[in-house]
């Protein structure tokens, strides 16, 4: 509250809306702010993965299997030359035939900011070939995170996978929110027998171990369905068990608000049930719900990752972080190419940022928190 007291005096604090108060409290929480920034960046990437990718994420390259990651250099032997990388050439070990990459420093290739690369559609609409980074020589691709066994660029695939993995979290949470708010609202607002019945269902759903249920449901999906249909089904499966937590939160809030004076006042004024719920009660615990949602998204992301990793979620050629981690499934391939863990790093980063953000939001939205 330092801002409020220093420059505008008491009036500013008094007229500040609920959301402004939350924002002030939130801003003081450093880790949560960091989380917010990371989440914002990740969702920008998810909105336009093609721009952040370097090579076509689906393009296979027979000359670059298990290519190790390449570093960006700024200085060469002659001094500062700007961002460039050192390409390497594929050689075979004469005895074992194992792939060896020999760096060729004399062929250093420049990296161009906003350069031209493969062409893609920005937001699925605008055809363009501009990328954040591009290799100035199309014959020498740049692999900041190396390549997988088919020579596909891991960095570009992570960028593309962000779109699927991060949006599945959002869509799944939106679905479970709809079910959760409706059922939790009915349960908490009307109470009595309806409440009892709905609460037993919620308890039942919460007591189920999620993964066996998901596995069974996901095994029921035909593997040859089109990617979008599969994607929708997976999100529905994930939200089938995800709604119960939200229903519980909403119900608790409704129960405690039902007896508040302002609700009784609204009822005595002759407001309809719908108006009482949506106009009077919902706004007072909106912030709390938003925090719960933020904490539910990472759980969805982890769930999709685990399912796809087991081979029961999304199927290649769809690219998601879970699908990418399947490449790292056995010890042999990760022992030769540890950079295949990189999508896991992306998962950890996203989940951690979302958790921190949700934690900060929850603290900030709590009016009794000091």
């Amino acid at each position: 509250m330092t801002e409020a007291t220093t420059n505008a005096g008491p009036p500013r604090l008094e007229v500040a809306s609920q959301s402004k108060l939350i924002w002030w409290a939130f801003r003081k929480h450093k880790l949560a702010m960091a989380g917010l920034i990371v989440v914002a960046i990740l969702y920008v990437i998810a909105a336009m993965p093609g721009f952040f990718a370097i090579n076509d994420p689906s393009a296979q390259n027979a000359r670059t299997p298990f290519h190790p990651p390449e570093a960006i250099h700024l200085w060469s032997d002659d001094g500062f030359v700007g961002p460039h990388f050192v390409p390497s050439k594929l050689k075979r070990d004469p005895d074992t035939l194992a792939a060896i990459y020999v760096p060729e420093p004399e062929k250093a290739v420049r990296l161009v900011l906003f350069g031209h690369g493969y062409s893609y559609r920005l937001f699925g609409l605008i055809e363009t070939d501009r990328h954040l980074f591009a290799s100035s020589d199309p014959k020498q691709p740049f692999f900041p995170f190396g390549t997988d066994r088919l020579g596909r660029c891991v960095w570009s695939r992570i960028m593309q996978g962000a779109q699927t993995s991060l949006s599945i979290g959002l869509v799944g949470v939106a679905l479970s929110l709809i079910i959760g708010v409706i059922l939790g609202g009915i349960s908490g607002y009307f109470g009595g027998r309806i409440d009892f019945a709905i609460q037993r269902v919620v308890e039942f759903v919460l007591a189920l171990p999620t993964i066996p249920i998901w596995l069974a449901l996901a095994a029921a999906l035909p593997q040859d369905w089109p990617a979008t249909l599969q994607y929708m089904m997976i999100t529905i499966i994930l939200s089938l068990t995800g709604w119960a937590h939200l229903a519980r939160v909403v119900r608790g809030r409704f129960l405690s608000l039902r007896t508040e004076e302002f609700v009784s006042a609204a009822r005595l004024d002759g407001c309809s049930e719908g108006r009482i719920i949506f106009r009077h009660m919902l706004p007072s615990f909106m912030s709390h719900i938003i925090a719960s949602i933020t904490l539910a998204i990472p759980a969805m992301i982890l769930a999709e990752t685990s399912l796809s990793f087991l081979g029961l979620g999304l199927q290649p050629p769809t690219i998601s972080w879970g699908v990418l981690l399947r490449e790292a499934q056995n010890v042999r391939s990760i022992a030769t190419a540890p950079w295949l863990f990189a999508p896991g790093g992306a998962v950890v980063l996203a989940v951690m940022a979302l958790n921190l953000l949700g934690d900060g939001l929850r603290d900030a939205a709590d009016p009794y928190n000091k």
Binding site: A207, I211, P212, A216, A219, L356
Partner: protein, 328 residues
Amino acid sequence: MLRFIFKRVLWMIPALFAVSFLAFVLIQLPPGDFVTNYVATLAASNEIIDQNAADALRERFGLGEPMLLQYGKWIWGILVHGDFGTSFEWQQPVGDLVWERMALTLTLTLSTLVATWAIALPIGIFSAVRKYTIGDYIVTSISFFGLAIPSFLLALVLMYIAVVIFGQDVSGLFSDEYQNAPWTWAKVADLIHHLWIPVIILAVSGTASLIRVMRANLLDELNKPYVTTARAKGLSEFRLLMKYPVRIALNPFISTIAWLLPNLVSGSIVVAVVLNLPTAAPLLLQSLLAQDMYLAGAFVLLICTLTLIGSLVSDILLAIADPRIRLE
């Protein structure tokens, strides 16, 4: 108290029926049945089964009957004879395949539960009492990291480290010589020797969230007047802490059994597949993919039952620990 327990146990019966029906419907969901899959598998290795033979197989397995009748027969067999049916794929009674694996799953889950508490309790107390110190910040960041890392990824990383740095294979629960050996003390010792790696992996995410819970609850209690009173009376800080606020802050720990168990079982499935543990998980996955429905159904049913019992135990413990809950 007895009435409360009785009511809770009674409530479990419809829940168990719901679970068994759910399990049965789930495994019936995929289009086609075991025979379709079986024929497809054989066709892949150039063996053709004609329609008549396939129908005969269906007849033998009772697959042509309506679903409700199949369910009725299945559940009747379990209730009356304790017979879970026959696995199509293994041509063995499901009971023979399931029990040892379920026992190992239970061992793994319970050891993880104990490990989770043993790690989370002291660390949670420490980070609440030493709030906003360097130690607290370190614990907080580690626990957020633990929450964020998927358990299978942790398993993979540990496997990688074990293979590359120590040149050791950490998968499985038994050494080669004990794989098929009968149960002896030596085999149990071997199991314990192997068990700790999956236990640690599984305990990480549960520990992380419990540390957060413990810290938050203890922080709420530490500023209450009764703590000040006890301190004013000259109680030593350690005894004061253990005797009052920690006991109250423990409450949510007990109630977390309810959701910790399903979470652990779920988490252990993915980890077991990665580490190739002889628990229920890999067989469940395989049976789901092959539509070996009685085997899959038995696993889903038993795992769900396990978690329902877990939530029953936690309710009873909670009622013992906190009289207010019983009165509701």
